[in-house]
């Protein structure tokens, strides 16, 4: 540990980005409960500082060499099991890392003057900062054990966020979310250890990528199965998704936003960062099945949406559908597909995050999320209504907005998946997935119509509905701008991810060329 300090001081940026929030949280714990303004200010300060680090990273990152790990720190941590404190980011982790930083800031801002019941901002903010450490760490970790720790670190805060500040059915939802994810990670850690022993006694991801190919095929397939459980539950993929609607529905607004914007990405990120590059051979075997589950998820999620009566739950199910596209992209094992997946993750983070923000604001104003009771939002709070409309179109994948670049390239990629994968299988997936886009339009517009169009139901006719608040403006503008910017200039993201993705798929391509 002590030996680590010099190294940490050489290249402290990432470590700061990861641990600043938790330090902030500790300080926060010291601030007396009564001083709410101080608490908020400090939390905001910390998250902003972290985001500033993120900005620095964006500036200092060498885009020309995005495939290489940068800002690397690699030092002893647990020599006994040869696990190291190895952090670094490449073109794939950078956007997600920044995303999680930004989202945290926005969440702090958003919850500025409306903390959910039971109030207690202190605990709430502490949890939020803990979450951020977990998320940032996961995106920065380059060692399986380190990854595992951060990957799990997000569980507790989210558990309490849902369970304490959540809706009426919160306890059930919280424990369900917790158990599901933990079940996955229990098998995941087994696979990690298996990798350790089969992959040359190391947990170091780059090393494993270098050696992973040497593992026998059947072993690979088994290990991949464990990883799959861990990640697929987090994504979540059909049929492991049932925790998601409950968690989302019950979670407080900010919780849902973080959940949707970042936590769901951890799973997919795991596939891209760990499962596929380390076990390309198994990936080839599993890809069709992942693809299958993905497209089922797309259609299934859409159907689920059409069946909802609760606005937030509908958005939650739409996540299942959208992550289906992400997973489809990953399943193709092509640069196109995986780039699409990363883009899809970021886009989904921005868009669905926004949708949950709006759902939260709607509930706050109408004290209900039942579609049957809502209506005429455009009349009572026009701005809110238009923002909703905008996000709906972004979410249904309208070209020129971010959502499109997550879906289209994924579908495109499944026309021609990696060599060695069955063409007709993936082309079928392509067809089904593209039908999914129509469904998406269906349920989203239907929701828009129920919520925004028409006139207010009698119960709310008289009630004065406040249009967007200042905190909401502050929290939302960056997201909305991001949606447009990425939609118009997809290369903003693609040129960051592309090289890194090529590295990820290299294993697969080698296999293909070997065939």
């Amino acid at each position: 540990m002590l030996a680590a300090w010099p190294v940490l001081l050489e290249q402290p940026v990432l470590s700061v980005a990861v641990f600043l929030p938790i330090v902030g949280a500790v300080v926060l714990a010291a601030i007396p409960k009564g001083r709410e303004d101080v608490l908020k200010a400090w939390a905001l300060l910390v998250s902003l500082a972290t985001a500033a680090v993120g900005v620095y990273l964006l500036g200092a990152f060498d885009y020309g060499d995005a495939g290489r790990l940068q800002f690397v720190v690699d030092t002893k941590w647990i020599p006994v099991i040869n696990s190291r404190y190895h952090v670094g980011i490449d073109g794939i982790s950078l956007p997600l890392l920044v995303l999680s930083m930004v989202i945290t800031v926005l969440c702090v801002v958003y919850s500025w003057d409306h903390f959910p019941e039971p109030h207690n901002p202190k605990a709430f903010l502490i949890l939020m900062l803990l979450l951020e450490t977990g998320m940032n760490g996961t995106f920065a970790a380059e060692d399986l054990i380190l990854f595992f720790v951060f990957f799990e670190l997000v569980l507790l805060p989210m558990y309490f966020m849902i369970g304490v500040w959540g809706g009426p059915n919160r306890q059930y939802a919280a424990i369900k979310f917790f158990l599901y994810t933990l079940f996955g990670s229990a098998l995941m850690i087994l696979s990690f250890l298996a990798l350790y022993f089969k992959g040359g006694q190391t947990f170091d991801i780059p090393l494993l990528i270098a050696q992973g190919g040497t593992i026998g095929h059947s072993t690979q397939v088994l290990i991949f199965a464990g990883l799959f459980m861990g990640f697929a539950i987090k994504v979540p993929m059909f049929p492991f998704h049932t925790w998601l609607p409950d968690a989302h529905t019950e979670a407080p607004t900010v919780g849902s936003v973080i959940l949707a914007a970042v936590l769901l990405k951890l799973g997919a990120y795991g596939f891209i960062r760990i499962a596929i590059p380390i076990l390309p051979d198994a990936a080839m075997t599993w890809a069709p099945w992942i693809g299958l589950l993905a497209v089922i998820g797309i259609i299934y999620g859409a159907l689920g949406c059409l069946a909802q009566k609760d606005m937030k739950r509908l958005i939650a199910f739409s996540s299942v559908s959208h992550m289906g596209f992400v997973m489809l992209g990953i399943a193709t094992l092509t640069t196109f597909g995986i780039n699409a997946a990363v883009f899809g993750m970021v886009a989904h983070g921005l868009i669905t995050g926004m949708l949950f923000f709006i759902a939260g604001s709607v509930q706050e104003r109408f004290k209900t999320r039942e579609l049957s009771r809502l209506g005429g939002l455009l009349l009572q709070a026009p701005r809110l209504g238009w923002v909703l409309g905008f996000c709906v179109f972004a979410s249904l994948g309208l070209p020129g907005l971010a959502g499109f670049w997550g879906e289209f390239p994924a579908i495109l990629a499944s026309y021609q998946p990696a060599q060695g994968l069955q063409l007709w299988v993936f082309r079928t997936y392509m067809a089904v997935a593209s039908v999914g886009t129509v469904f998406a339009a269906g349920y989203l517009l239907w929701m828009l119509q129920r919520v925004a169009f028409g006139t207010a139901k009698s119960e709310f006719e008289q009630s004065h509905i406040h249009d967007i608040h200042i905190p909401e403006y502050l929290a939302w503008t960056p997201l909305l701008l991001g949606i447009v910017a990425l939609g118009v200039f997809p290369n903003l993201l693609f040129h960051v991810t592309d090289k890194a993705v090529t590295v990820v798929t290299s294993g697969v391509t080698q296999l293909a060329s070997a065939r």
Binding site: K176, L179, Y180, P239, T242, Y300, A302, L303, G304, C305, L306, A307, Q308, T334, T335, F336, N339, G376, L378, L379, F393, L398, P399, G400, F404, F408, P409, I411, L412, Y415, Q416, M430, A431, S434, V435, T437, V438, F439, A441, G442, L445, W446, Q449, A452, F453, G454, T455, F489, P490, N491, F494, H495, D498, V501, T502
Partner: protein
């Protein structure tokens, strides 16, 4: 200007942002920005046209593009492709848009979302222009979807009534269903063309056999699915009539002149694919022509039984679009595009006319109009012009283009020539009916109609003029250089010439005109019979004969009614309408409802019971196990002791004797 054609879509785009930003605070609530911007774009487009025409032949299409995004070594560009077709479209779109916006200042006056309306129009125009200048299918698709969204926004402009928003959703979903095809088609052709979206390249490859016929057929068919959605081709046409829920100017701009022809434009643009894919060159029957043909007849028949004037026009639009698609299907590329050109004028005219009527009588129903001839003269005359143009009466615009289509079909596609003629006949007939119901007879409404304000009248007149003269561009009168077929042509450098020009064919022309006149005659006779001048019987035998004929009007009536009109109006048309409302429309709505139903089932049964149940079930069994196991903890120490010894002995035996 050709090289900077990208400015033309950009300007309205900017104006969209500006209107949103400052619109409300401006004196004219943002209308001036919109009109100004589109005005500039229009002028620029005209410049472009002139420059293009002025170019030395053979004219080289202007290609410019910059890298949009890169993936895995594939460089996707965004850019412009400017040729005759482009500049023609630019001019039409900007022009109609300009007029419609001017018109809207009057029509939409005092509307709650006046500013927003203009913003939407600007955005629409921008998207449409972007679609037009696109040099690759992907970019084209982007524009395509954007115009779809704008149409959604504008159809649902008055979303307070659920009917309107539902219509908007229906329109969007129906077109998007087609767009699935479009997307898959684009993807297929992207890979077929070696990971490249560029259109010119695609056409070249298609025509030079660079792509296998199978791929072309698949890709073409998929693309055509999109076309059927956007251009309201049978059976995906059902959304267009509902789309009339939007404000009339919108119908004029989006659902008559511009957006709906995007499909036609797409076919014309990537014609190489369709030509090779459906081997149009070989004549006979092909999907495109067939769909087009069917649409012509079906829609026209439906137009007879509408009371809502906008629906009449809507169906007529559908049927005219059918003409264009059919034209492209029979290889009459120029004709199809030319019809697109002329149709834009007179159909916009008709819609704006109907708008002015509706504005006056506060109703869409012809049953509440009548006798408008005197009350609204401008509207009347312009409307008449438009109708005649649509009916294809020379020398109005409609005549030339429609005649070209029929003429084109006559070369190897006789069946479709017949269809064309039949369509012409019906068109003439139902337009006459509409005109009669609206302008003749007595006023049946309750409002106090009066001529519309200048802002609305002027556009009508302008369009009227163009509806008269617009067609002449297609004739020699325009001069060889300016002749439509000369500067709007489909030629891909390095690919064989596929579009053949057919000389003006007098018999065909006469035939089509005759058909049109007969149509008008029969309809007019049926509706306007009491307008025949009296006392002319003595003048000549010819008239006497005619008089005789007219005296026995019941006989004639019966003849018309039983023989012609009813046979069209009632059995066929009603049947068609019934089919339309119940089968197709029902199907579309049914799909929606069905989806919701299945969704409910899937959600309730599969998700909540099976999958979730499995999880909770696992938990439950665990709890049960706990309960059972607790029984072993009896609390009596000697029971525990029994476990101790018993277990030891048992395990001992197990280990000793069974291992």
């Amino acid at each position: 200007m050709l090289r900077n054609a990208w400015l033309i879509p950009l300007i309205p785009a900017v104006s969209f942002v500006l209107i949103l930003a400052f619109g409300r605070r401006l004196p004219a609530k943002g209308a001036e920005i919109g009109i100004g911007a589109i005005g500039i774009s229009f002028l620029l487009s005209l410049v472009a046209v002139v420059q293009w025409v002025g170019r030395s032949e053979p004219r080289e299409a202007v290609e410019r593009h910059l890298s949009w995004w890169k993936l895995g070594g594939v460089d996707i560009g965004a850019g412009i492709h400017v040729d005759g077709l482009t500049v023609m479209m630019l001019a039409v779109v900007t022009f109609i848009s300009l007029l419609v916006q001017v018109y809207s200042t009057g029509y939409m006056e005092g509307d709650r979302r006046y500013t927003y309306f203009f913003a939407a129009l600007s955005l629409f125009t921008a998207s449409m222009l972007m679609l037009v200048v696109a040099d690759n299918t992907l970019q084209l698709m982007v524009g395509w979807e954007l115009v779809g969204m704008c149409s959604f926004m504008l159809i649902g402009h008055w979303w307070e009534e659920e009917a309107n928003s539902s219509a908007a959703i229906k329109a969007f979903l129906t077109t998007r269903t087609g767009d699935v095809g479009l997307m898959l088609g684009v993807i297929t052709l992207f890979f077929a063309a070696g990971q490249n979206f560029n259109i010119a390249n695609l056409n070249r490859l298609a025509l030079t056999g660079g792509i296998s016929h199978g791929l072309l057929l698949t890709g073409g068919a998929l693309l055509f699915l999109g076309v059927m959605g956007k251009s309201a081709q049978f059976p995906l046409h059902v959304w267009l009539p509902d789309a009339m829920a939007g404000p009339t100017p919108v119908s004029a701009l989006i659902h008559a002149a511009t957006m709906v022809v995007a499909g036609v434009y797409l076919v014309a643009r990537v014609y190489g694919v369709f030509w090779a894919g459906f081997s149009i060159g070989d004549g006979g029957i092909n999907l495109i022509a067939l769909i087009g043909g069917i649409t012509v007849i079906i829609a026209a028949a439906l137009a007879f039984v509408q009371d809502d004037i906008k629906k009449v026009l809507a169906y007529s639009t559908i049927s005219q679009l059918g003409y264009m698609v059919m034209a492209l299907g029979v290889g009459a590329w120029t004709a199809g595009v030319f019809h697109l050109f002329t149709h834009a004028f007179f159909k916009a005219l008709l819609f704006l006319g109907s708008g002015s009527l509706i504005h006056a009588v506060h109703s869409n129903n012809m049953s509440e109009m009548g006798g408008m001839r005197k009350r609204m003269p401008t509207t009347f005359w312009t409307f008449m012009v438009g109708s005649l143009a649509l009916a294809g009466i020379p020398p109005l615009a409609g005549f030339w283009s429609k005649d070209e289509i029929i003429n084109g079909a006559s070369h190897g596609f006789t069946l479709f020539m017949v269809v064309g003629l039949l369509g012409a006949f019906m068109t003439a007939a139902y337009m006459t009916r509409a005109v009669y119901l609206v302008f003749f007879g007595e006023y049946r409404g309750h409002a106090h109609p009066h001529e519309s304000p200048k802002s609305m009248a002027v556009p009508l007149q302008v369009l009227g003029v163009l509806s008269v003269l617009g067609g002449l561009v297609g004739t020699g009168l325009a001069g060889s250089k300016w002749r439509f077929s000369n500067w709007v042509r489909f030629d891909i450098p390095g690919a064989p010439e596929i579009v053949k020009e057919h000389a003006f064919n007098f018999p065909v022309a006469t035939l089509s005109v005759a058909v049109g006149l007969i149509g008008i005659g029969i309809a007019a006779g049926y509706y306007l019979r009491n307008m025949f001048p009296r006392g002319a019987a003595e003048k000549s035998g010819l008239v006497r004969t005619g008089y005789k004929v007219l005296v026995n009007k019941y006989y004639l009536d019966n003849l018309y009614i039983d023989g012609v009109v009813r046979s069209i109006q009632y059995p066929i048309a009603r049947a068609a309408y019934w089919v339309n409302q119940h089968v197709l429309d029902g199907a579309v709505n049914g799909v929606g409802i069905g989806a919701r139903k299945t969704a409910q089932v899937v959600y309730d049964v599969v998700d909540q019971k099976v999958i979730d149940g499995a999880v909770n079930g696992a938990g439950f069994t665990a709890e049960e196990g706990g309960i059972v196991l607790r029984q072993t903890q009896t609390g009596r120490v000697q029971t525990y002791a029994a476990f101790l010894f018993g277990a030891s002995a048992l395990i001992a035996v197990g280990l000793v004797f069974f291992t």
